[in-house]
Symmetry: C2
Subunit: 448 residues, 2 copies
């Protein structure tokens, strides 16, 4: 039963196993998929990470390193391994994955790793290292099947079979008499096995699947987490219904990202990007009218301080700075949070950590920008008291911006609403009102 996400219990289990000897650790890791071990590695200390990779068999360790998040520096773990184990792991890796890891190291370390590899592997990796990471050359895999155009069919077939080690495997689903999914078969393995072996002896029962009702965005997340090329689809009784291949997921991802971007910007998700101007008006005017309504809220705050503004007209130019900065800081926090929710399922703890982080970021960015406006009020307007009001309102408003920009999408997600509808329109109303209230309220107390 795949649960798709590492939870607290898994982490507890691994932490306990890390206290014990290698055999216990190996036993604890046995039940996890390489991509799940890579996730777990992100949640333990760097030393524990190295130990985990060290005790794993080379084929699993190589997958774990290939799947590990860049920020946990898999290349350092690889480099610190015993040279023999290191070479074993590099040889297990696809050339493109090995190159990705090695390219993160400095020149000297790269040389040391390459020296320990056999001639062919080293020259292939050296070759791939010469391409920029974000180009076709940096993405490609050089292990491919190719045949010469001058061969006969017979020669070509022999050549294909000879090179078939380079071929990605092809999987076949295995079902019982009631069509209930039991696992999968590797066609390569079937071909290599003895004739008297039964399917039941070869079936892999450790597989990932999805239910037919699962939302396509969640399906895309499963594909991306497990690096799959296809996934079986089952009903509630585990009856095999069909399968989804990775190429269908490309369109889903494009669609979902477009939705996120448009919703954050306050555009209806079903606006055709290349649609007519009439469609664009239908999709955007409602949001603008909502925004007009909320803008009157912010304007009402200003009106209630009419007396303050008329006595101190200089406030009207600073007001727009405080409110505008709050809106931008909130949009920053919103974009990061919405994108994070799209890409991973945040646990409760991760959600709290996110909001706390945005609170801190808002506080520091607010204080930094607050100091700048304070300095301008002191040296340009010669008004230190105004400077104090500006410093306090900038800090307060950016702090609220961080809180609102992160917590509102998380709360929406919790109550089952798409977090991206917490568009910048909604969030900036929040920071506009609060910003005006802060600067005008403080000014009416401290400056009049």
């Amino acid at each position: 039963m795949p649960s798709y996400e590492i939870d607290k219990n898994d982490l507890l289990l691994i932490r306990q196993a890390l206290e014990e000897d290698d055999a216990a650790l190996v036993a604890a890791l046995k039940d996890y998929h390489a991509s799940e071990i890579a996730d777990l590695c992100g949640k333990v200390s760097p030393e524990a990470r190295e130990r985990i990779v060290n005790v794993l068999p080379s084929d699993v360790a190589s997958e774990v390193l290939a799947e590990m998040d860049e920020e946990h520096h898999p290349e350092e773990i690889l480099f610190n391994l015993h040279p023999e184990k290191r070479s074993e792991i590099v040889e297990e890796l696809d050339y493109d994955d090995a190159t990705d890891l090695i390219s993160q190291m400095d020149e000297e370390d790269q040389q040391e790793i390459l020296e320990h590899l056999d001639e062919e592997d080293a020259s292939n990796i050296r070759n791939l290292l010469s391409y920029e990471e974000d180009t076709a050359g940096g993405l490609m895999n050089t292990e491919i099947i190719k045949v010469n155009i001058n061969l006969t069919k017979k020669e070509a077939l022999d050549e294909i079979i000879r090179q078939s080690e380079e071929m990605e495997d092809f999987y076949i689903y295995v079902v019982d008499d009631a069509d209930i999914l039991q696992g999968f078969l590797s066609v390569k393995e079937v071909l290599k096995s003895r004739m008297d072996v039964h399917v039941v002896d070869m079936v892999s029962r450790d597989f990932v699947y999805v239910k037919a009702e699962m939302d396509q965005e969640e399906v895309a997340r499963v594909f991306s987490q497990y690096n799959l090329t296809s996934i079986p689809v089952v009903d509630d009784e585990m009856k095999l219904l069909g399968r989804i291949t990775v190429d269908d997921i490309i369109d889903v991802l494009q669609e979902e990202s477009t939705e996120d971007i448009l919703k954050i910007a306050g555009v209806s998700q079903d606006e055709e990007l290349g649609g007519t101007w009439q469609d664009a008006i239908k999709s955007r005017l409602p949001w603008l009218i909502i925004n007009l309504g909320t803008a009157f809220l912010a304007a009402a705050v200003i009106r209630s301080f009419d007396a303050t503004v008329s006595k101190l007209v200089i406030l009207s130019s600073y007001m727009t700075i405080i409110a505008g900065m709050g809106g931008n800081a909130a949009t920053q926090a919103l974009a990061v949070t919405v994108r994070r929710i799209s890409l991973i399922n945040l646990s409760d703890r991760q959600a709290y950590v996110t909001v706390f982080k945005e609170f801190l970021v808002g506080f520091v960015n607010g204080a930094a920008n607050g100091l700048i406006v304070l300095a301008i009020a002191v040296f340009y307007d010669h008004n230190p008291k105004l400077g104090l009001v500006l410093f306090l309102s900038m800090t307060g408003n950016l702090l609220i911006a961080g809180l609102a920009g992160s917590s509102i999408p998380l709360i929406l997600k919790r109550v089952g609403i798409d977090p991206a509808v917490a568009s910048s329109i909604i969030i900036t109303t929040f920071t506009d009102c609060f910003g005006f209230l802060l600067i005008l309220g403080l000014a009416s107390k401290l400056l009049l």
Copy 2:
């Protein structure tokens, strides 16, 4: 030689062929990939579209319909075909693609199509029609290979071969003696062919490839346009270097979409979504300080009208409404344009059309919202002249918002800068300054 994009010449050619007889049209279409024909169909009249699908052989026509943009209603073209041709095309389609098309028709039309299919196809499609479009069930394909768990190896192999028609094809690259890419071979076809056939007789020379230096975003676009599962990578001499598989593209797409979202929101593209608060500050504070600088620009506009504001304090609350609405309208236009640039390479003509469309949308949305504020100024503030100022500045500012939000990213793209850096921060400065200038300038002329 793939050019990846349909250009004016292609369109001209097809338009000419459409004037002539069917044979000429078939000849003109012969050189295009099905996904390119689908693109061309988007650029001709609905009648021409139907004629093109009608003259194509069923296997190509089915691919064209599967690839065609929803907004050009491939399901209507399918429905209007002769029932016999229609059934042929549906049978050529994968069940999931056929279901996608048929699900767009109304109940009655669905019944008519299904009645003309053979029993098995009809029941499979009926079954798939019962799943929601955006769930795993709606995405899956039911044509899969499965074996019973109780079989022997021999029986399983026979079963796999018997079902191999359902298997997606596997392609092998063909090179000459100098390793220059010549084309590809379908393994299915090789297996079916006579023993004395040569590779040179079976090779398909009409293939899509990418150069090693191509940017990964462009590679993703090629994958998405041609619906590929893998693509060969060559050097400038067409020497085969390796290949890229679609699963590697998933990560590229996620990464690029995240970059777009973050940049639009004014966050540095390399901020780790799950990074520390210190990293977040480093990535966002520079943008906020830029914004602070630009906010002083807007504030300077207000300051230059200090006399106007102090005589008419009510302006300070309306000012924020006009500027805020401009910022939101500009962000809408920006998000749609940036996303469109990411997904397709806009031609010059498409770029002008986009800007003109946003101009129109801005004008209409501006006038609509302008009428609302006009009404409020008349009925609530009893000040028709103020209403006129508000109406004119709202219309003007939203019109400028549409122009800036669409043309700035397009201009950046043209001069080779990532269009997403035209973040809402830059764009809203534009609309803030212009909005303040409009309302205060008009007020100082008309209201004092």
